[in-house]
Amino acid sequence: MIAPTPITLTVNGETVAAQVEPRIHLTDFLRENLGLTGTHIGCEHGVCGACTVRLDGEIVRGCLVLAVQADGKSVETIEGLSDSGALDELQAAFRDRNALQCGYCTPAMLLTAHELLARNPTPDRATIREHLSGNYCRCTGYQAIIDAVEIAARARAGAKS
């Protein structure tokens, strides 16, 4: 029998203490222990990107991080980033451009786009496509998503000038 391991981490700014089996991955922990079901599971093999969360500020595959590995770290999910307003321009652009259909990939897509714009505020389309190329979308064909990220980048640039 493997004893659960105590962990303490910050999730969307709140301190969370829990006992977890070492094998539980971060996405399962967020979804099942904390009810943060906005982080989705598509493949559990690190390919589809639907489980993307921010770990200490960088996007990672939640399905390839053990919850115990997040001990002492800061995790941000779609719920927290939506409430903080960090994704406002992106969400507005996704809505206006209908850059989502079933919406299952969307939280992760938003987090990935958000990281790109933090790194490169004015990416061209090829750069956006490359950066988002770790996130599957089976519905849109991607073009609307690329458009929306471009629009959001312009909105952010406009808001700053």
């Binding site: 919406g103 991607y142 690329i146």
Partner: protein, 797 residues
């Protein structure tokens, strides 16, 4: 028929201040999805919920000699371990046949294999536990004793005498055969100036919905009701099937479908896992949840395509194509899928080949065979990509044979835009299509002649680019001719109920479902337009058999055309009812009143008479003030099914511009264009995104997607890292244009748009690759177009 609409055509009732029809209004349900606050079945949990994990056969074909679950059953958290024979006592088997597909046969299929597993991935035992992890741990301790049997892996030899028959009681491995002979085919070939032929090969594909199949079944013995939360496209169909096979009345079953993470036809079928989960809930008297993992998705979500189709065409020197002939073979796995059957795709291929053209002579044979692989069934654009690739591939071969430009040969042979109504040699009836207008518009959008000049200039520099065209027709708005006539309890009509509540809010319930296409948005758009209220006032409920009218759901590009028409008629009726009540209150002639922006107005002057919230207050709280004998009816229900045509065909044409690296075989997609005609466009943005999403699924088929089985019937690439679907980096931007030929089968005029993109994308990419390779005399009629196929065709490996 009109050119690209800036406003919607025709219908005067829609030209109103609150007309949302034809406008790109945002979907009302996006916010929750973008905030991670959607509710997919995989997100749900219920008190006392158990989780089921299925132990699956590692063999393509094996007899189950024994299952030892004693050790596993004693593990912590394990509730039950159930085998096929045990579950068969709770759930009756099914056979996936339809009476109008003459001769189609299949064997009874059980929720869990009873004595024999017939494909790698078929469930052989269910492990139910308090958590999924506990169930998975226990599954590893269930010992199954198998006797491996010879698998039928290759569809080409499935009918050979030496090949084992998978279901001996059926006599052979032939599930279905259809033959068609129209016109004078032999004479046409005899009189042809050229005959072109090729064998077209299509890989097996699967849908890869990002949310795997998910179901949560809750049998409540107190209520004696089964509530099933399921990501499905057809809740009422599932209601019927759960009831039928679990010995319940339909009224004892409620199917609830909230957010669905992608479907594309994958989630419209009856899966053994779903039946087993519902049966287990009934057996164990508690909620049971199943969510497929990705390996299970690849091994058990329906597959599609997997055709080998020989085709021939007869062409005259002037470019007239006088005959098509095909011989199609497809392998469907060990069972025909219930209840829509696995013969529909081949049947569609027979129906659709040659569809855009005037060619009068057509012969076809399609054979559908059993094999020990995962089952195939209807996936987005059923049969269309195959029919389109065969037809358009043959048209390009014919053009090459007589030295004619691919655009010109299409112009010569496409059915004239003023020839409707008319019918195809296979018996399809066309109401009004616009092939020539679409072709002209496409060539203008892509600047065809400039592109040809650029191609020639680059070719001189050793850069090999190609242009590919593909005309297509698409089956949409199916009437009962699709399934109902074959005896399936699959509704082809849909219903919409609209009511005005006491605050003037509009509540709308529709039987079509939402998987991201925009069903909720288009219903709200139509209802708001009909009523004359802001869209923000309309709330739409769907996906709940207890709380919506009875109907078909969303599949076969039917939601907008059928559910939209029902919404239109329901909205119109409620409008009449509201105006009657207003007239009664205002002592006015209802014909002098109108509704605009949520207010009753004087139709002639636009002067406000009474806001809807005040009207609602009077109707609901002070009906005593209404004239005696007047009863306000603030709810209207309407149903619709197309009656004039069995299907509302749409049409269109696609073009691809790509570059082939002739040294590495690597293809770069540069541009893609689509012109389509889905009739009235309710929301241009939604239509365009349906087209784009569909195109990209077709591009995946053209370039990457392939379920690769080895000769033992083992699927070797059942991961997302190995079964490649399109991602952002390699996909092109896609320009979409429209021609509008509304259907007169209904007032709305809308036809479907969900599958047009997938129908033609692979065909035009293949044609573009062959165009690029034409200086080398190379031709490829197989997809996916892998680097080694290209290099082999070039003679470079």
């Amino acid at each position: 028929m009109t050119d690209a609409p800036t406003t919607r055509p025709g219908l005067s009732e829609l030209d109103r201040p609150n007309s949302y029809i034809g406008r790109a209004v945002p979907r009302p349900n996006l916010k929750r999805l973008m905030q991670g606050r959607g509710q997919y079945v995989s997100d749900m949990s219920l008190p006392r919920m158990a989780h089921v994990v299925f132990l699956r056969s590692p063999y393509a074909h094996a007899r189950i000699l024994g299952i030892d679950s004693a050790e596993a059953a004693a593990m912590p958290g394990v509730i039950a371990i159930v085998t096929g024979p045990e579950l068969a006592k709770v759930c009756t088997p099914w056979v996936g046949v339809l009476s109008h597909l003459k001769g189609l046969k299949s064997a009874p299929q059980y929720p869990i294999a009873v004595d024999r597993a017939c494909w790698q991935g078929e469930a052989v035992a269910a492990i139910v536990a308090t958590s999924r992890a506990a169930a998975e741990d226990a599954a590893e301790r269930v010992m199954v004793d198998y006797e491996e049997l010879e698998p039928v892996a290759d569809m080409r030899t499935a009918l050979d005498a030496a090949t084992p028959v998978i279901h001996p009681e059926l006599g052979d491995n032939l599930a279905f055969e259809r033959n068609l002979d129209a016109g004078a085919v032999d004479a046409a070939f005899a009189e042809a100036d050229h005959v072109v032929e090729a064998e077209f090969v299509f890989g097996r594909h699967t849908g890869v919905t990002l949310e795997p199949r998910s179901i949560l079944a809750d049998w409540n013995p107190g209520d004696e009701r089964l509530t099933v939360y399921q990501g499905t496209q057809a809740p009422h169909m599932m209601q019927n099937i759960f009831a039928k096979h679990l010995a319940l009345d339909e009224s004892q079953v409620r199917v609830v479908c909230k957010d669905v993470g992608g479907s594309f036809g994958i989630k419209v079928h009856v899966y053994a896992d779903d039946m087993a989960t519902a049966a287990l809930s009934k057996l164990l008297r508690r909620p049971v949840k199943f969510v497929a993992d990705r390996l299970e998705s690849f091994n058990t979500d329906i597959h599609a395509r997997d055709h080998r189709c020989k085709g021939r065409a007869a062409v005259k020197a002037d470019g007239t194509i006088t005959a098509f002939e095909i011989d199609d073979l497809t392998g469907i796995g060990p069972y025909s899928v219930y209840p829509r059957t696995s013969a529909i795709e081949a049947n569609q291929v027979v129906n659709l080949v040659g569809g855009p053209y005037t060619t009068p002579n057509y012969r076809a044979r399609a054979r559908v065979v059993f094999q020990n692989k995962n089952v195939t069934c209807q996936y987005r654009a059923v049969g269309h990509p195959i029919a389109c690739s065969v037809t358009e591939g043959l048209v390009d071969l014919a053009a090459a044979a007589i030295g004619m430009d691919p655009a010109d040969i299409r112009r010569r042979n496409l059915i004239a835009d003023d020839a409707y109504p008319c019918a195809s040699p296979s018996g399809l009836r066309f109401e009004a299509l616009s092939h020539h207008a679409a072709l002209d518009k496409l060539l203008a959008m892509m600047d065809y002649s400039a592109l040809r000049a650029e191609q020639a200039a680059l070719r001189a520099k050793g850069i090999h680019r190609g242009i590919g065209l593909a005309s297509f027709i698409e089956v949409t708005n199916p009437s009962p001719a699709f399934y109902g006539v074959g005896g399936a309890r699959i509704s082809s009509q849909d219903g919409v109920a609209v009511r005005m509540d006491a605050t003037g809010a509009i509540i709308c319930q529709t039987s079509i479902t939402e998987q991201g296409q925009g069903s909720e948005a288009l219903t709200a758009q139509i209802v708001a337009s009909m009523l004359g209220v802001p869209m923000s006032r309309v709330r739409v409920t769907l996906g709940d058999t207890d709380n919506t009218p009875y109907g078909g759901g969303t599949w076969a590009s039917r939601g907008a055309g059928i559910g939209g028409e029902a919404a239109l008629q329901a909205g119109k009726q409620l409008r009449r009812n509201i105006l009657a009540a207003a007239a009664s209150i205002l002592q006015a002639d209802p014909d002098t009143l109108d509704i605009r922006d949520g207010k009753i107005i004087d139709a002639a002057t636009g002067a406000e008479r009474v806001p809807l919230e005040e009207l609602a207050r009077i109707v609901y709280y002070r009906p005593d003030t209404l004239p005696p004998g007047f009863q306000a009816e603030m709810m209207a229900v309407r149903h619709f099914v197309p009656r004039d045509f069995p299907f509302a065909f749409t049409n269109g044409i696609q073009a691809s511009w790509l570059e082939v690296d002739t040294e590495t075989g690597f293809i770069t997609l540069l541009n893609h264009w689509v012109v389509e005609d889905c009739g009235t466009i309710i929301n241009p943005q939604l239509v365009d995104e349906q087209i784009r999403g569909g195109v990209v699924q077709g591009l995946g088929a053209a370039l990457f997607e392939h379920c690769r089985y080895d000769e033992r019937g083992q699927l070797t690439n059942a991961t997302m890292a190995d079964y490649l679907v399109p991602m952002a980096a390699e996909m092109p931007d896609i320009d979409v244009g429209h021609i509008v030929s509304p259907t007169k089968d209904g007032e709305l005029g809308a036809k479907g748009a969900g599958e047009a993109g997938t129908a033609g994308a692979a065909a035009c990419v293949a044609n573009a690759v062959n165009d690029a390779l034409s200086p080398f005399g190379a031709r490829i009629t197989e997809i996916p177009l892998t680097p080694e196929l290209i290099l082999t065709a070039l003679g470079r490996i």
